[in-house]
Symmetry: C2
Subunit: 188 residues, 2 copies
DNA sequence: TTTCTAAAAGCAAATTATTTGCGTTAGTGA
DNA sequence: TCACTAACGCAAATAATTTGCTTTTAGAAA
Protein backbone atom coordinates (compact mmCIF):
# COMPACT_ATOMS: atom_id res chain seq x y z
CA UNK A 1 0.00 0.00 0.00
CA UNK A 2 2.23 2.75 -1.25
CA UNK A 3 1.37 6.29 -0.39
CA UNK A 4 1.00 8.16 -3.61
CA UNK A 5 2.33 11.61 -3.54
CA UNK A 6 1.30 13.01 -6.85
CA UNK A 7 -2.21 11.94 -7.58
CA UNK A 8 -4.76 14.71 -7.43
CA UNK A 9 -2.50 16.77 -5.25
CA UNK A 10 -4.58 19.91 -5.12
CA UNK A 11 -7.94 18.74 -3.92
CA UNK A 12 -9.76 16.82 -1.30
CA UNK A 13 -7.09 14.14 -1.00
CA UNK A 14 -4.57 16.75 -0.05
CA UNK A 15 -6.87 18.23 2.53
CA UNK A 16 -7.56 14.82 4.03
CA UNK A 17 -3.87 14.04 4.14
CA UNK A 18 -3.06 17.33 5.83
CA UNK A 19 -5.87 16.91 8.29
CA UNK A 20 -4.85 13.36 9.18
CA UNK A 21 -1.19 14.29 9.57
CA UNK A 22 -2.15 17.18 11.80
CA UNK A 23 -4.36 14.93 13.90
CA UNK A 24 -1.52 12.45 14.34
CA UNK A 25 0.92 15.13 15.41
CA UNK A 26 -1.50 16.59 17.91
CA UNK A 27 -2.48 13.26 19.38
CA UNK A 28 1.14 12.17 19.70
CA UNK A 29 1.92 15.32 21.61
CA UNK A 30 -1.00 14.80 23.97
CA UNK A 31 -0.90 11.10 24.73
CA UNK A 32 1.18 7.99 24.89
CA UNK A 33 1.93 6.56 21.48
CA UNK A 34 0.34 3.18 22.11
CA UNK A 35 -2.93 4.77 23.05
CA UNK A 36 -3.17 6.38 19.63
CA UNK A 37 -5.48 4.37 17.40
CA UNK A 38 -6.78 4.84 13.91
CA UNK A 39 -10.37 5.42 14.98
CA UNK A 40 -9.09 8.10 17.34
CA UNK A 41 -7.08 9.79 14.64
CA UNK A 42 -10.02 9.59 12.30
CA UNK A 43 -12.29 11.35 14.77
CA UNK A 44 -9.71 14.03 15.47
CA UNK A 45 -9.17 14.57 11.77
CA UNK A 46 -12.84 14.55 10.90
CA UNK A 47 -12.68 11.63 8.50
CA UNK A 48 -13.92 8.09 8.70
CA UNK A 49 -11.55 5.32 9.76
CA UNK A 50 -11.95 3.46 6.52
CA UNK A 51 -10.46 6.38 4.65
CA UNK A 52 -7.29 6.03 6.69
CA UNK A 53 -7.20 2.26 6.36
CA UNK A 54 -7.56 2.49 2.62
CA UNK A 55 -4.93 5.15 2.15
CA UNK A 56 -2.29 4.08 4.63
CA UNK A 57 -3.05 0.47 5.38
CA UNK A 58 -2.29 0.46 9.05
CA UNK A 59 -1.16 2.60 11.94
CA UNK A 60 2.54 1.89 11.44
CA UNK A 61 2.49 3.08 7.86
CA UNK A 62 0.70 6.24 8.84
CA UNK A 63 3.04 6.97 11.73
CA UNK A 64 6.00 6.37 9.45
CA UNK A 65 4.58 8.70 6.85
CA UNK A 66 4.15 11.44 9.41
CA UNK A 67 7.57 10.79 10.93
CA UNK A 68 9.40 11.02 7.61
CA UNK A 69 7.87 14.41 7.03
CA UNK A 70 8.88 15.63 10.46
CA UNK A 71 12.40 14.33 10.03
CA UNK A 72 12.92 16.36 6.89
CA UNK A 73 15.31 19.21 7.72
CA UNK A 74 13.69 22.60 7.42
CA UNK A 75 16.90 24.49 6.76
CA UNK A 76 20.38 23.83 5.39
CA UNK A 77 23.21 23.48 7.92
CA UNK A 78 24.32 26.80 9.37
CA UNK A 79 27.29 28.42 7.69
CA UNK A 80 29.82 29.01 10.44
CA UNK A 81 32.77 30.01 8.31
CA UNK A 82 34.66 26.73 8.18
CA UNK A 83 33.76 23.22 7.16
CA UNK A 84 34.94 21.77 10.40
CA UNK A 85 32.77 23.96 12.59
CA UNK A 86 29.88 23.55 10.13
CA UNK A 87 30.11 19.82 10.59
CA UNK A 88 30.57 20.07 14.34
CA UNK A 89 27.51 22.17 14.83
CA UNK A 90 25.39 20.21 12.42
CA UNK A 91 26.39 16.90 14.03
CA UNK A 92 25.64 18.16 17.51
CA UNK A 93 22.22 19.37 16.50
CA UNK A 94 21.55 16.15 14.63
CA UNK A 95 22.52 14.06 17.65
CA UNK A 96 20.38 16.15 19.95
CA UNK A 97 17.32 16.00 17.80
CA UNK A 98 17.59 12.30 17.12
CA UNK A 99 18.35 11.36 20.69
CA UNK A 100 15.37 13.25 22.08
CA UNK A 101 12.24 11.35 23.01
CA UNK A 102 10.24 12.44 19.98
CA UNK A 103 13.28 11.98 17.75
CA UNK A 104 13.80 8.40 18.78
CA UNK A 105 10.12 7.68 18.42
CA UNK A 106 10.09 9.05 14.89
CA UNK A 107 13.11 7.02 13.88
CA UNK A 108 11.52 3.90 15.22
CA UNK A 109 8.30 4.67 13.39
CA UNK A 110 10.19 5.08 10.15
CA UNK A 111 12.15 1.87 10.59
CA UNK A 112 9.16 -0.17 11.69
CA UNK A 113 7.13 0.59 8.65
CA UNK A 114 9.50 -0.99 6.22
CA UNK A 115 7.29 -3.88 5.34
CA UNK A 116 7.48 -3.97 1.60
CA UNK A 117 9.62 -1.01 0.73
CA UNK A 118 12.71 0.52 2.26
CA UNK A 119 11.79 3.90 0.89
CA UNK A 120 10.94 5.57 4.15
CA UNK A 121 14.21 4.86 5.86
CA UNK A 122 15.97 5.59 2.62
CA UNK A 123 14.43 9.04 2.50
CA UNK A 124 15.75 9.90 5.95
CA UNK A 125 19.17 8.70 4.98
CA UNK A 126 18.83 10.87 1.90
CA UNK A 127 18.02 13.97 3.92
CA UNK A 128 21.11 13.44 6.01
CA UNK A 129 23.26 12.89 2.98
CA UNK A 130 21.96 16.10 1.44
CA UNK A 131 22.78 18.10 4.52
CA UNK A 132 26.32 16.79 4.64
CA UNK A 133 26.60 17.39 0.93
CA UNK A 134 25.78 21.05 1.45
CA UNK A 135 28.58 21.35 3.97
CA UNK A 136 30.94 19.56 1.60
CA UNK A 137 30.08 21.85 -1.28
CA UNK A 138 30.58 24.95 0.82
CA UNK A 139 33.95 23.59 1.83
CA UNK A 140 34.81 23.03 -1.80
CA UNK A 141 33.76 26.55 -2.73
CA UNK A 142 35.96 27.92 0.01
CA UNK A 143 38.87 25.81 -1.18
CA UNK A 144 38.90 23.78 2.02
CA UNK A 145 39.68 20.08 2.15
CA UNK A 146 36.71 17.98 3.15
CA UNK A 147 36.26 14.24 3.43
CA UNK A 148 33.96 12.22 1.25
CA UNK A 149 30.30 12.43 2.19
CA UNK A 150 30.09 8.66 2.56
CA UNK A 151 33.01 8.75 4.96
CA UNK A 152 31.19 11.31 7.08
CA UNK A 153 28.18 9.04 7.18
CA UNK A 154 30.33 6.07 8.18
CA UNK A 155 32.37 7.84 10.81
CA UNK A 156 30.06 10.46 12.26
CA UNK A 157 26.43 9.80 11.43
CA UNK A 158 26.43 6.02 11.81
CA UNK A 159 28.00 5.91 15.29
CA UNK A 160 25.59 8.56 16.53
CA UNK A 161 22.61 6.71 15.20
CA UNK A 162 23.82 3.31 16.37
CA UNK A 163 24.18 4.50 19.92
CA UNK A 164 20.82 6.21 19.90
CA UNK A 165 19.07 3.13 18.60
CA UNK A 166 20.85 0.34 20.40
CA UNK A 167 22.51 1.84 23.41
CA UNK A 168 20.91 3.32 26.47
CA UNK A 169 23.30 6.22 26.47
CA UNK A 170 22.93 8.69 23.63
CA UNK A 171 26.22 10.21 22.51
CA UNK A 172 27.38 13.19 24.53
CA UNK A 173 28.41 16.43 22.97
CA UNK A 174 32.03 15.57 23.65
CA UNK A 175 31.59 12.24 21.92
CA UNK A 176 30.13 13.87 18.84
CA UNK A 177 32.96 16.36 18.69
CA UNK A 178 35.51 13.61 18.98
CA UNK A 179 33.90 11.78 16.09
CA UNK A 180 34.24 14.90 13.95
CA UNK A 181 37.77 15.32 15.22
CA UNK A 182 38.63 11.81 14.07
CA UNK A 183 37.19 12.69 10.70
CA UNK A 184 39.64 15.53 10.20
CA UNK A 185 42.63 13.93 11.88
CA UNK A 186 43.95 11.61 9.20
CA UNK A 187 43.39 13.96 6.25
CA UNK A 188 43.92 17.66 6.28
CA UNK B 1 4.56 -5.33 30.49
CA UNK B 2 7.99 -6.70 31.08
CA UNK B 3 8.70 -10.28 30.25
CA UNK B 4 9.92 -11.91 33.38
CA UNK B 5 12.58 -14.46 32.86
CA UNK B 6 13.02 -15.99 36.25
CA UNK B 7 9.60 -16.71 37.64
CA UNK B 8 8.63 -20.34 37.82
CA UNK B 9 11.09 -21.21 35.12
CA UNK B 10 10.64 -24.95 35.15
CA UNK B 11 6.94 -25.44 34.76
CA UNK B 12 3.98 -24.70 32.65
CA UNK B 13 4.99 -21.11 31.99
CA UNK B 14 8.21 -22.29 30.46
CA UNK B 15 6.39 -24.78 28.27
CA UNK B 16 3.95 -22.14 27.10
CA UNK B 17 6.77 -19.74 26.35
CA UNK B 18 8.67 -22.34 24.38
CA UNK B 19 5.57 -23.38 22.51
CA UNK B 20 4.66 -19.81 21.62
CA UNK B 21 8.18 -18.97 20.50
CA UNK B 22 8.27 -22.05 18.34
CA UNK B 23 4.92 -21.18 16.81
CA UNK B 24 6.14 -17.69 15.98
CA UNK B 25 9.30 -18.99 14.32
CA UNK B 26 7.39 -21.51 12.27
CA UNK B 27 4.72 -19.07 11.17
CA UNK B 28 7.28 -16.45 10.21
CA UNK B 29 9.05 -18.98 8.05
CA UNK B 30 5.84 -19.99 6.32
CA UNK B 31 4.05 -16.71 5.71
CA UNK B 32 4.38 -12.99 5.31
CA UNK B 33 5.02 -11.21 8.58
CA UNK B 34 1.95 -8.99 8.44
CA UNK B 35 -0.32 -11.97 8.07
CA UNK B 36 0.87 -13.32 11.38
CA UNK B 37 -1.62 -12.51 14.12
CA UNK B 38 -1.83 -13.37 17.77
CA UNK B 39 -4.90 -15.57 17.39
CA UNK B 40 -3.01 -17.47 14.70
CA UNK B 41 0.04 -17.91 16.87
CA UNK B 42 -2.17 -18.99 19.74
CA UNK B 43 -3.80 -21.70 17.66
CA UNK B 44 -0.45 -22.92 16.34
CA UNK B 45 0.97 -22.99 19.85
CA UNK B 46 -2.07 -24.62 21.38
CA UNK B 47 -2.82 -21.84 23.85
CA UNK B 48 -5.57 -19.27 24.07
CA UNK B 49 -4.97 -15.78 22.72
CA UNK B 50 -5.56 -14.16 26.08
CA UNK B 51 -2.57 -16.00 27.45
CA UNK B 52 -0.36 -14.32 24.90
CA UNK B 53 -1.95 -10.93 25.36
CA UNK B 54 -1.46 -11.12 29.10
CA UNK B 55 2.14 -12.25 28.92
CA UNK B 56 3.46 -10.20 26.04
CA UNK B 57 0.99 -7.38 25.64
CA UNK B 58 0.95 -7.20 21.87
CA UNK B 59 2.36 -8.70 18.74
CA UNK B 60 5.32 -6.35 18.55
CA UNK B 61 6.51 -7.24 22.01
CA UNK B 62 6.24 -10.91 21.23
CA UNK B 63 8.05 -10.61 17.92
CA UNK B 64 10.77 -8.60 19.62
CA UNK B 65 11.12 -11.21 22.33
CA UNK B 66 11.54 -13.94 19.75
CA UNK B 67 13.90 -11.85 17.65
CA UNK B 68 16.22 -11.05 20.54
CA UNK B 69 16.60 -14.72 21.23
CA UNK B 70 17.39 -15.48 17.62
CA UNK B 71 19.90 -12.67 17.42
CA UNK B 72 21.92 -14.07 20.30
CA UNK B 73 25.14 -15.50 18.87
CA UNK B 74 25.41 -19.23 19.32
CA UNK B 75 29.18 -19.37 19.27
CA UNK B 76 32.12 -17.09 19.97
CA UNK B 77 33.92 -15.57 16.97
CA UNK B 78 36.15 -18.04 15.18
CA UNK B 79 39.80 -18.03 16.20
CA UNK B 80 41.73 -17.48 12.99
CA UNK B 81 45.14 -16.90 14.48
CA UNK B 82 45.27 -13.11 14.41
CA UNK B 83 43.05 -10.37 15.74
CA UNK B 84 42.75 -8.69 12.41
CA UNK B 85 41.51 -11.74 10.57
CA UNK B 86 39.30 -12.63 13.55
CA UNK B 87 37.65 -9.24 13.23
CA UNK B 88 37.46 -9.41 9.46
CA UNK B 89 35.72 -12.73 9.45
CA UNK B 90 33.43 -11.88 12.32
CA UNK B 91 32.42 -8.57 10.72
CA UNK B 92 31.71 -10.19 7.38
CA UNK B 93 29.52 -12.82 8.96
CA UNK B 94 27.78 -10.20 11.07
CA UNK B 95 27.07 -8.05 8.03
CA UNK B 96 25.76 -11.01 6.07
CA UNK B 97 23.46 -12.20 8.79
CA UNK B 98 22.08 -8.79 9.59
CA UNK B 99 21.63 -7.77 5.97
CA UNK B 100 19.67 -10.90 5.09
CA UNK B 101 15.91 -10.71 4.87
CA UNK B 102 15.26 -12.48 8.17
CA UNK B 103 18.09 -10.54 9.81
CA UNK B 104 16.67 -7.19 8.87
CA UNK B 105 13.23 -8.25 9.96
CA UNK B 106 14.52 -9.30 13.34
CA UNK B 107 16.36 -6.06 13.87
CA UNK B 108 13.27 -4.11 13.01
CA UNK B 109 11.21 -6.21 15.39
CA UNK B 110 13.65 -5.53 18.18
CA UNK B 111 13.77 -1.80 17.52
CA UNK B 112 10.02 -1.45 17.11
CA UNK B 113 9.19 -2.91 20.46
CA UNK B 114 10.96 -0.31 22.46
CA UNK B 115 7.88 1.25 23.91
CA UNK B 116 8.74 1.59 27.53
CA UNK B 117 12.13 -0.01 27.80
CA UNK B 118 15.21 0.04 25.63
CA UNK B 119 16.24 -3.30 26.99
CA UNK B 120 15.67 -5.33 23.89
CA UNK B 121 17.83 -3.25 21.61
CA UNK B 122 20.32 -2.93 24.44
CA UNK B 123 20.62 -6.68 24.66
CA UNK B 124 21.49 -6.98 21.01
CA UNK B 125 24.08 -4.28 21.36
CA UNK B 126 25.38 -6.21 24.33
CA UNK B 127 25.74 -9.42 22.36
CA UNK B 128 27.77 -7.61 19.73
CA UNK B 129 29.95 -5.96 22.32
CA UNK B 130 30.63 -9.34 23.94
CA UNK B 131 31.67 -10.87 20.65
CA UNK B 132 34.09 -8.06 19.93
CA UNK B 133 35.32 -8.28 23.49
CA UNK B 134 36.22 -11.93 22.96
CA UNK B 135 38.31 -11.00 19.95
CA UNK B 136 39.95 -8.19 21.91
CA UNK B 137 40.83 -10.50 24.78
CA UNK B 138 42.31 -13.09 22.48
CA UNK B 139 44.39 -10.35 20.91
CA UNK B 140 45.57 -9.28 24.34
CA UNK B 141 46.49 -12.85 25.29
CA UNK B 142 48.50 -13.16 22.11
CA UNK B 143 50.24 -9.88 22.82
CA UNK B 144 48.74 -8.23 19.77
CA UNK B 145 47.66 -4.61 19.67
CA UNK B 146 43.91 -4.18 19.37
CA UNK B 147 41.72 -1.11 19.34
CA UNK B 148 39.22 -0.30 22.02
CA UNK B 149 35.97 -2.23 21.78
CA UNK B 150 33.96 0.98 21.63
CA UNK B 151 36.07 2.16 18.72
CA UNK B 152 35.29 -1.05 16.86
CA UNK B 153 31.61 -0.45 17.46
CA UNK B 154 31.88 3.11 16.19
CA UNK B 155 33.96 2.37 13.16
CA UNK B 156 32.93 -1.09 12.05
CA UNK B 157 29.64 -2.16 13.59
CA UNK B 158 27.81 1.16 13.38
CA UNK B 159 28.45 1.83 9.69
CA UNK B 160 27.39 -1.70 8.81
CA UNK B 161 24.18 -1.40 10.77
CA UNK B 162 23.43 2.11 9.55
CA UNK B 163 23.62 1.05 5.94
CA UNK B 164 21.53 -2.01 6.52
CA UNK B 165 18.82 -0.05 8.27
CA UNK B 166 18.72 3.16 6.29
CA UNK B 167 20.27 2.45 2.96
CA UNK B 168 19.00 0.28 0.20
CA UNK B 169 22.41 -1.18 -0.41
CA UNK B 170 23.79 -3.41 2.32
CA UNK B 171 27.56 -3.16 2.71
CA UNK B 172 29.56 -5.34 0.37
CA UNK B 173 32.27 -7.65 1.56
CA UNK B 174 34.86 -5.21 0.27
CA UNK B 175 33.25 -2.38 2.19
CA UNK B 176 33.33 -4.38 5.42
CA UNK B 177 36.98 -5.25 4.90
CA UNK B 178 37.83 -1.63 4.27
CA UNK B 179 36.15 -0.64 7.51
CA UNK B 180 38.30 -3.12 9.38
CA UNK B 181 41.30 -1.91 7.44
CA UNK B 182 40.64 1.64 8.58
CA UNK B 183 40.43 0.36 12.11
CA UNK B 184 43.98 -0.97 12.01
CA UNK B 185 45.50 1.76 9.88
CA UNK B 186 46.05 4.54 12.36
CA UNK B 187 47.27 2.47 15.30
CA UNK B 188 49.74 -0.26 16.02
C1' DT C 1 3.49 -37.03 51.09
C1' DT C 2 -0.32 -34.01 51.43
C1' DT C 3 -2.16 -29.49 51.69
C1' DC C 4 -2.22 -24.69 50.85
C1' DT C 5 -1.34 -20.60 47.95
C1' DA C 6 -0.92 -17.73 44.24
C1' DA C 7 0.76 -17.17 39.52
C1' DA C 8 -0.52 -18.26 35.19
C1' DA C 9 -3.74 -20.47 31.92
C1' DG C 10 -8.42 -21.31 30.01
C1' DC C 11 -12.95 -19.78 28.71
C1' DA C 12 -16.46 -16.71 27.14
C1' DA C 13 -18.65 -12.32 26.92
C1' DA C 14 -17.96 -7.51 25.92
C1' DT C 15 -15.54 -4.17 23.55
C1' DT C 16 -12.87 -2.28 19.99
C1' DA C 17 -10.48 -2.33 15.66
C1' DT C 18 -10.36 -3.67 10.81
C1' DT C 19 -12.29 -5.00 6.42
C1' DT C 20 -15.50 -4.65 2.77
C1' DG C 21 -19.44 -3.61 -0.40
C1' DC C 22 -21.82 0.01 -2.17
C1' DG C 23 -23.60 4.63 -2.82
C1' DT C 24 -21.93 9.57 -3.02
C1' DT C 25 -18.80 13.43 -3.67
C1' DA C 26 -15.64 16.18 -6.05
C1' DG C 27 -11.27 16.90 -8.83
C1' DT C 28 -9.74 16.34 -13.73
C1' DG C 29 -9.65 16.38 -18.55
C1' DA C 30 -12.36 16.61 -22.72
C1' DT D 1 -20.25 22.26 -19.00
C1' DC D 2 -20.17 17.23 -18.82
C1' DA D 3 -18.44 12.68 -18.25
C1' DC D 4 -15.20 9.99 -15.77
C1' DT D 5 -13.15 8.01 -11.90
C1' DA D 6 -10.29 8.26 -7.68
C1' DA D 7 -11.19 8.92 -3.18
C1' DC D 8 -14.45 9.48 0.53
C1' DG D 9 -18.46 8.30 3.70
C1' DC D 10 -21.48 5.00 5.66
C1' DA D 11 -22.78 0.77 7.65
C1' DA D 12 -22.64 -4.12 8.05
C1' DA D 13 -19.63 -8.02 8.66
C1' DT D 14 -15.55 -9.90 10.42
C1' DA D 15 -11.53 -10.15 13.30
C1' DA D 16 -8.72 -8.79 17.10
C1' DT D 17 -8.27 -7.31 21.86
C1' DT D 18 -9.70 -6.75 26.59
C1' DT D 19 -11.67 -8.33 30.75
C1' DG D 20 -14.08 -10.85 34.59
C1' DC D 21 -14.26 -15.13 36.34
C1' DT D 22 -12.96 -20.14 36.83
C1' DT D 23 -9.65 -23.76 36.70
C1' DT D 24 -5.12 -25.64 36.66
C1' DT D 25 -0.59 -26.32 38.50
C1' DA D 26 4.15 -25.30 40.29
C1' DG D 27 6.22 -24.40 44.53
C1' DA D 28 6.26 -23.82 49.48
C1' DA D 29 4.82 -25.25 54.07
C1' DA D 30 3.22 -28.58 57.19
Amino acid sequence: MNIRENIRPGGRSARVQASVHKAVRELLSKMDRNEVTIPLIATEAGVTPSTIYRRWGDLQELLADVAVERLRPDAPPKDTGSARTDLEQWAEQYADEMASGPGRAMIRDVLSSVGADTRNAGKCCGYTREQVQVIAERAHDRGEAFPDVEAVIDEVVAPIMYRILFDDAPPTSAKVLSLVEGMFAGRS
